[in-house]
Symmetry: C2
Subunit: 122 residues, 2 copies
Amino acid sequence: MVRVVDADRVAAVRERMPAAVDLADTADVFGLLSDQNRLRLLVALLEGELCVCDLAAVSGLSESAASHALRLLRAHRIVAVRRAGRMAYYRLEDPHVRMLLDLALAHTEHTEILHPERDGGL
Amino acid sequence: MVRVVDADRVAAVRERMPAAVDLADTADVFGLLSDQNRLRLLVALLEGELCVCDLAAVSGLSESAASHALRLLRAHRIVAVRRAGRMAYYRLEDPHVRMLLDLALAHTEHTEILHPERDGGL
DNA sequence: TGAACGTATGAATAGTTATTCAGATGAGCG
DNA sequence: CGCTCATCTGAATAACTATTCATACGTTCA
């Protein structure tokens, strides 16, 4: 089993395959962007910092849920926090993620949604 | 609870917030990219079509696992299949996903990995 | 100081997703 | 035909992720 058909292409692709650690990191970032609520939070932050309660309001989350989500994003340094008294102001810190968001949103807004359906032969 | 601090910004952000269906779709796409194995498959396909066994070989997956992953990607029309006899050749079909991949990989390859760690105050 | 507030946390539950295995399908070939 | 091969599938388990609730923390202000 696992016999190779086009050995040359397989070797070439193996060459170009990013290191496991890079792939894991990339998968991680995409994973953080794969949730509607986190997406809302990040979209809200595209134009500048907001406090937790405004983020919760904008994204329709409870403050607890918003806080949990922001914690995750903060742990991966996608957002950063500024504290002022009892308020916490979050901002989008990762320019790479900003680019991914911009690109992704630009496309979904102009594109028909492709729902999971069958192809040639499912 | 959920009191708004900066009502104007909240209203402005609400205006710009994409529709729920667009966010769901975007989150979905990111979700499909959030797995190392699927990422490997897609990277392998960046340069052209490959059959399942070569994809499995390149990405270190069992053929069954590769097939399951490809099925998912196919269901979302991210890849498409061409069948020739008993072989199945997959290709990357979604140019939007190709862009996201290119962007993401370009960055991870030049960037220090930011592992989940604490920020100012975790 | 103590009450109210914004935020953060932990633990529990519920829900989703990946992985594996056993077997099915359908094409080619002797 | 009947065997082998490439691929696909379904079902089961295991692993992970989200959501909620109750509560804790530190700040502000009376």
